[in-house]
């Protein structure tokens, strides 16, 4: 006899409100339905009522983890409409901030995944590491969550002594290499809880058009930093890690390896940051009529902004945001099919979902 188990919108296994309705036979999930929209905020519509300064502050609040990424994507689109290009130093600072945000997101996710595995000491280790990343973000921007770094035409703050940040990156990389990565890759707890569960095959990953680490953990070799470089990524040397298995362990490995790549990129950006100004264009901007798009590889995958403007207006005519969780979440239905009920909190967490982004 089949029965229905609702998980969410309020559940200890979920950090944010959404609902996974699972149809089970015994302990096995046969199918699932997903419901989102519990906190839908209408930010896209609100953006049309904000001027070109206010809209940046508004879009920074789409996501609490990727706040920099959202303003970066928006500002890149607005720069195309204003005919501006950020100066080289600003592009490097954007890379530094984007990679620090990736570190923050991946380490935070590793902690939450460890907690869901029942590995609470690892949760504490990851959150201690996350604090170190946030210290660096605070040292650069003065803020821990909404950094207010991006502006149309560049960034608001300079990194006065980039080389002073290198010891912090070294320390972070050392901790990751000594503690987090070996435990996640070799411990029997992690292996028994992650290997072979929540499998998303490459075919299904393509069909669902998933993005980011989730796609790369299902054997799809895509990364906008390499495929459609923005900011200063064209000048950075890094590898894109792909794992073919498509299970929770593969997602764990991809993110762990990406942490190391982020450290590599940060070191390059900090040591070769060009001198010069950090913004162009002054304080007043004139946007042409039309639409501009911008895409950025956020920690969870591709973020896309489509921004439309009417010449002479201070407000955008339309801002459309496609966030990575919005692309990745529907695939959870296929990942939990055939899984044990007890594994479903970890499976849904393995996509690193963000409902703040989804319910934008």
């Amino acid at each position: 006899m089949s029965y229905r188990i609702p998980m969410g919108p309020y559940h200890p296994g979920l950090e944010e409100p959404y609902k996974l309705d699972m149809i089970c036979e015994g302990e096995t999930v046969q199918d699932a339905e997903l419901n989102i929209g519990f906190n839908f905020r209408g930010i896209e519509h609100l953006a049309e009522t904000r001027n070109y300064y206010q809209v940046i502050a508004l879009m920074e609040r789409v996501c609490g983890i990727c706040s920099f990424i959202h303003t970066l994507t928006l500002c890149q689109a607005m720069e195309k409409l204003a005919g501006l290009e950020a100066p080289p130093r600003a592009k490097y600072i954007r890379v530094v901030m984007a990679e620090l945000e990736r570190l923050h997101s991946h380490v935070l996710w590793a902690g939450i995944a460890a907690k869901l595995m029942g590995f609470k000491t690892m949760f504490m280790t990851c959150f201690a590491l996350r604090e170190k990343v946030m210290d660096v973000l605070q040292a650069i921007s003065g803020n821990r969550v909404n950094y207010s770094m991006n502006r149309v035409g560049g960034v608001n703050r300079d990194v006065e002594d980039p080389l002073a940040l290198l010891p912090l990156i070294d320390e972070l990389e050392r901790e990751m290499t000594r503690t987090v990565i070996p435990i996640f890759t070799t411990s029997s707890t992690a292996a028994s809880r992650c290997a072979g569960i929540g499998v998303l095959t490459p075919e299904k990953a393509r069909s669902c058009a998933v993005v980011g680490p989730m796609a790369r953990a299902s054997g799809i070799n895509q990364d906008l930093r390499r495929d459609a470089p923005y900011a200063a990524y064209e000048e950075m040397k890094f590898d894109v890690h792909v794992q073919p298995a498509g299970d929770v362990k593969a997602r764990l490995l991809v993110r762990a390896l990406e942490i190391m790549e982020s450290c590599k990129i940060l070191r390059q950006a900090l040591t070769s940051m060009p001198p010069g100004e950090v913004s162009v264009g002054g304080d007043k901007f004139a946007f042409v009529t039309g639409t501009a798009t911008s895409r950025v590889e956020a920690p969870r995958g591709e973020v896309m902004y489509s921004v439309s403007w009417k010449e002479g207006s201070r407000n955008p005519a339309r801002v459309h945001v496609r966030t990575p969780t919005y692309a990745n979440m529907p695939a959870v239905r296929w990942m939990v099919r055939g899984a044990r009920l007890a594994d479903t909190p970890l499976i849904q967490a393995s996509i690193d979902p963000c409902y703040s982004c989804t319910d934008r």
């Binding site: 929209g37 519509h45 906008l224 495929d227 639409t291 501009a292 489509s306 459309h320 496609r322």
Partner: protein, 150 residues
Amino acid sequence: MTDLETIREKLGTSEPWVESRGTHWLNPGAAGVRQVAAVMNEAHARFVTITAYQLPGAEGFRLEYHWDLEGRLLGLPFTIAGNAIDSIFDLSEAADWIEREIHEEYSLEFTGRECAPLLLRKGDESGVNLREIAAAKPAPAAQAQKEVAQ
């Protein structure tokens, strides 16, 4: 690597691809959205999103369909006079949520599918034009100014 020209030829459109502000645009001409989705599947392009615009007055809607082809963002716009367009959900399951969202935000019908609610709705009503309902109310800031003036 799939050539953009091959896609254009398969769609039978005479207008060229135009690269503008981050997107390669193609006017699909007489090709319908389902034909475009089928050609994109053949090219192994990844569906990205649909951006909906409500045109002024009773002009209808403009829907911009986006796919990614090996790092290039492709855009194909469709203007519809009424309030319905063919669904591509059966050809591209990744279009599921965005079709449902547009249905709930703009009261636009995607023919050939049932749009299960995503919860973006007014009370119990699903498929109403939320944008028009919101536009009828003054923005909170404007309302506050009005109240201060009074």
